[in-house]
């Protein structure tokens, strides 16, 4: 007999109830964090939407004066930046991903709940920083992908781009932490019996997206850091007269930027793969191929970035290679479109608004994908890129794809999240107005592009023949705006007076539908045992498949009367924390202070950050207060989740350093004048390298001592590691100061700036390691470390060894190889 969820003895408060304002400010419950992401995203979406409407008003007619050129340029920049970083990604990851991952995999929360809250508060700070230009300095206005060297201070003076750089750095950090969190959660916290091939497809998409995030964002971070250094510290990473090239920015940005669009598209695909089977009452067609195609899309997405640069003159070989890879990526994507249609085929369809939006997404994304094939053909792209044709393409895939999926997800999961149903009548109006408005706004753009209208132009001439279509698009945009108004109204109405939602309004297939609507804070009274794909469907109807469904169709109640109620007292949820909020405020202070030149605020902010990190580290003296459910073993086969977290972080750091090292290799020989590698002191650096490597040995000994409970040697070896790390840092400080005395400072030439930034950032990593180990040393000395906390030492060791390995690579490539001619 199929197992049924047992009822609870008394009304369990939902996750929304209790705690007051302080409860929300200190929450680490993934569902509350999700709701905060939602509120923030809906807020910023209003900004992004109004910016879009203003753009369309300005483009109503030729030579229009509704917006000045400066305002227009700021608006299209903010529209893109806001929609991508503050709306679509937060909605897909921070809102839907956060809410659903634990519920769909049968867990009680994510792997690192406080880190989750930190991600949210950082994201909010980032959104605020990006918009502070309204108050002072002006809004960012160099486009959402801010090409160098327009973004250099010489060409765009003032604070606008500074807000953009800092805002994106903070936003990127928030996203990377989320990726790390999701990856660890999905690997380690699936319910017993949920193998990878039994996960909901939404979880598959988030698993792969998390890896994409970890490997893509560091490239953006490095690009932004170079721009920051150029704008604040007078380096020349993108300035041609110094021997550099603005094309470096494009490579770094698009190495991030293309995986970024798949970071938005893959979760959207995952959503459709949930909604379509539910409303077709059929399993997803071709589950294994759907999973593999997600992996293949992600893998290929790293090889296509040059298709954003076909016009930059990379040469025919590079152009051809990127054209091929860009076409290849269409194949796994096509598999998904066909599989969704095959899922609907032969199904028993329930035509809800959620299903409408999912079906709409399939068609609209197909159009976007097909125009993408055109862009993949490099010669054709040379006419289409930077024209309204590409604006049509990316709105079809990002709005028609990601946003439609988000809207579908909204109508689908809102009952679970809020305990209320959204109005179906308003929903259908919302849907049809969106379809009409969306296609009216964006389809004509294909033609405008073919007729030569460039993008990012605040006005156009009357004799170009573009006026009529622009008018049509403006009308479409207002229809779309009205549709979104209906959406906001629907949400509002549902919260005030919406029909109360049952636990399983759609007869769903995955585990979240087994919980009450809205769920209690702990999600599941008992963690279910998973017997197959569509785990909840099996729990309801057994594995009989159509027999079980036939029973449902014939009106038979699917569940037998429940037996004894279950107790929930044993469930222990992680305790709330104020540190995520405080830490984020510290980061905000640092960003703000840097931009408005109040360096005291930067230092205060840094202090707040450091103290918060240490505070978070010691908040739960016994690892277990922040623990997950002891009821089931982690699905990672016994590996501590914190280790998975650190390894994920190390993965992203690899890309961080790879970008820095690659830049050094490209730039070291391009200095126009000044010293080169001959200034390096190899014997001295060999000695400090040896010291650093020996520190790794000491770290290994420290861990061994901790693991066997030897407190004395634990302290000695830890202390030794710290000491050796400090000696290495002193050696670096000596090296840097002697270079300055010999006439090579940060901004002297390309070699110097690439060297100092690379080695400097590595040194910063060593310094952070030293601080970390010192904190552990103090803990050891005061008797608070010891065998039961050996994992803490192991984690620090992992980080420390990684930093050493990076140094070996740097030492080889920067110091030793300079003696090799042509290296």
């Amino acid at each position: 007999m199929a197992a049924q969820p047992k009822p609870l003895p008394v009304h369990q408060p939902s996750y929304l109830e209790g705690g007051g304002i302080v409860g929300w400010l200190t929450t680490i419950d993934h569902k509350r964090v999700a709701v905060m992401y939602l509120a923030s995203a809906l807020f910023f979406m209003a900004f992004g939407g109004i910016e879009a409407m203003a753009i369309r008003v300005q483009l109503w007619g030729p030579d229009n004066h509704a917006l000045s050129a400066a305002t227009y340029n700021a608006f299209f920049t903010m529209h893109g930046t806001t929609m991508i970083f503050l709306v679509v990604m937060p909605l897909l990851l921070g809102f839907l991903g956060n809410f659903l991952i634990p519920l769909q995999i049968g867990a009680r929360d994510v792997a690192f709940p406080r880190l989750n809250a930190l991600s949210f508060w950082l994201a909010l700070i980032a959104g605020i920083l990006l918009h502070l230009g309204w108050i002072r300095g002006g809004l960012p206005d160099a486009g959402w992908f801010g090409y160098a060297n327009l973004t250099e201070r010489y060409f765009t003076p003032g604070l606008a781009i500074d807000w953009w750089v800092i805002g994106l750095l903070v936003s990127g950090t928030s996203t990377v932490l989320t990726g790390l969190n999701f990856l660890t959660t999905i690997i380690a916290m699936r319910a017993p019996g949920m193998t990878y091939m039994r996960m909901p497809m939404f979880i598959w998409s988030l698993l792969v997206t998390s890896i994409l995030i970890l490997i893509a964002f560091p490239a953006l971070t490095i690009g932004l850091i170079f721009l920051l250094f150029d704008r604040f510290f007078d380096t020349h990473f993108y300035i041609a007269s110094a021997g550099a090239t603005p094309i470096l920015w494009q490579h770094l940005f698009w190495l991030f930027g293309h995986p970024e669009v798949y970071i938005m598209a893959l979760p959207a695909f995952g959503i459709i793969s949930e909604v379509v089977p539910t409303f077709s009452r059929k399993p997803l067609f071709g589950y294994p191929m759907m999973a593999y195609s997600i992996c293949l899309i992600a893998f290929l997405s790293y090889g296509v970035w040059g298709h954003h640069m076909f016009a930059t003159g990379m040469g025919p070989v590079a152009d051809s290679a990127f054209a091929i890879t860009s076409m290849l990526i269409a194949i796994p994507t096509g598999v998904k479109i066909f599989s969704w249609i095959a899922t609907v085929w032969g199904g028993s369809l329930r035509m809800t608004t959620a299903f409408y939006f999912a079906l709409g997404m399939v068609l609209e994304f197909t159009i976007g994908g097909l125009s993408g094939i055109m862009h993949a053909s490099a010669p054709v792209d040379l006419q289409q890129t930077d024209s309204y044709f590409v604006v049509a393409h990316f709105h079809y895939v990002l709005f028609g794809g990601a946003m439609f999926a988000i809207l579908s997800a909204f109508y689908y999961w809102w009952p679970k999240i809020s305990g209320r149903m959204l109005g179906e009548r308003i929903g259908k109006w919302h849907f049809w107005l969106t379809i009409v408005g969306f296609n009216l706004t964006f389809f004509p753009m294909h033609f405008l592009g073919m007729w030569g209208m460039p993008r990012r132009t605040y006005t156009y001439a009357a004799d170009m023949g573009w006026t009529h279509l622009n008018r049509l698009e403006t009308v479409g945009a207002f229809i779309l705006g009205f549709a979104f108004l209906l959406f906001y109204i629907n949400i509002f109405k549902s919260l005030i007076s919406g029909e109360r939602a049952p636990a399983d309004p759609w007869d769903g297939r995955s585990l979240e539908w087994s919980t009450p609507s809205p769920p209690p804070a702990y999600n599941f009274a008992t963690i279910p045992q998973i017997r197959g794909r569509d785990a909840w469907w099996i729990l309801k109807y057994g594995r009989a498949g159509s027999r079980g469904v036939a029973a449902y169709m014939s009106g038979q109640a699917p569940s037998p009367p429940p037996s004894e109620p279950v107790s929930v007292e044993h469930i222990h949820m992680p305790a709330p924390s104020i540190f995520p909020l405080v830490l984020s405020l510290g980061v905000g202070m640092m960003g703000l202070g840097l931009i408005i030149d109040w360096y005291r605020i930067v230092i205060m902010g840094a202090l707040v950050v450091v103290l918060s990190v240490i505070g978070m580290g010691f908040e739960y003296p016994d690892y277990g207060q922040e623990s997950h459910d002891p009821e089931h073993a982690p699905s990672s086969g016994g590996i501590d989740v914190r280790k998975i977290g650190v390894w994920s972080f190390i993965g992203s750091e690899c890309v961080f350093f790879a970008s820095l090292i690659s830049t050094f290799i490209v730039y070291k020989a391009r200095s126009v004048s000044g010293p080169g590698p001959e200034i390096l002191n190899i014997p001295l650096t060999s000695l400090s390298t040896f010291i650093l490597l020996m520190s790794s040995l000491l770290m290994v000994l420290a861990l061994a001592a901790t693991q066997r409970g030897d407190k004395r040697w634990e302290r000695i070896w830890l202390g030794g590691t710290v000491l050796f790390g400090l000696i290495f840092l002193c050696g670096q400080a000596y090296e840097f100061t002697s270079f300055v005395h010999e006439g090579m400072g940060l901004t002297t030439n390309l070699f110097s700036q690439s060297f100092f930034v690379l080695v400097g950032f590595h040194g910063a990593h060593v310094a952070i390691g030293v601080i970390w180990l010192s904190v552990l040393l103090v803990a050891a000395i005061t008797g608070n470390l010891g065998k039961s906390r050996a994992t803490s030492v192991e984690l620090a060791g992992l980080y420390w060894h990684f930093v050493d390995v990076v140094w070996i690579i740097i030492f080889t490539l920067v110091y030793l190889m300079q003696a090799v001619p042509g290296a």
């Binding site: 060297n149 479109i337 028993s348 007729w451 030569g452 006005t459």
Partner: protein, 342 residues
Amino acid sequence: MIRRGSNRYSVASVAMRVAIALAIAGCSDTDRPMTTLAPKSDLAQWIQNLFIEVTLWDALVFAIVVVAFILALFVFSTRVGEAAPASTASSDLGLEIAWTLGPVLILLMISVPTIRTIFRSQPAVPPAGALVIKVVAHQWWWEFDYPDGAKTGNELHIPVNRPIRLSLESADIIHSFWVPQLGGKRDVVPGQINELTFVATVVGMYPGQCAEFCGLSHANMRFRTFVDSPEDFAKWDRDQLAGPVATPTSNQLASDGAKVFADSPCTTCHMIQGVSKGYIGPDLTHFGGRTTLAAGVLQNTPANVAKWIEDPQAIKPGANMPPLLLPGPKLNALVAYLESLK
């Protein structure tokens, strides 16, 4: 339909191509002077051929998707409450292979001509007999320097049926050179020289525009390309090389204007051969002969020239040219002088 070499097509595909070309040409280039669909050069033609091919394949795939979609939604499914679902089949190896291999084959058909066109359109060395013209992009105007020393701004003249090699350089930031009827665009990047090679095949005037966002007046960085017959081009080139047209003594206003110019700050930025040496702004030696000013934004009429000189920022936000406050008569004289420089 299997393509063997570039000259053999099945009847059906020829018919389709003619139909599409007619449909596209229906969007005529007189109504839409920046259209990409009316090729006037070999490069633009190759690109359009490729575009039509990709469009046809795209249309085929879209038709298949739409038909499958409609069938799935309206024919081969039931609605909840009706009879039990027809099947719960969730895999079919044949189908999955078909819809993986099918796209692979289609993409192969697209990729071969794509790569051919890429290599054909980017010759490593200029073709024999090519006219190599240096293009320098500035915020927000275009400078054209000819190998024989002729210099002009914002209006490019090239001879028909002769290979042109544009050597693209930037004076400041990244711009992009785009004349849709003559081919795709090429970015203009500081620190490197990019090249665009093509042969214009039809005499005429083709507008172009900067296609990489380059700041406040990116929308105002336009230009015109004149494809001339060989004789007309030779004459134009001679005229450009010659000094400024002597102001006829009968034109008193223009003679006064020459003095106004010589005494004005204009000489700091603008060159008129034999008169001033400024190179920050466009060369004005033959300004009167141009059809537009302010980089293709205004028609070259006396009223517009006056408007521009009085307040460049109003027409082109951010322009480096400061306003010149002149009393009416002096302004008119200056305008008359500039317009006389044919």
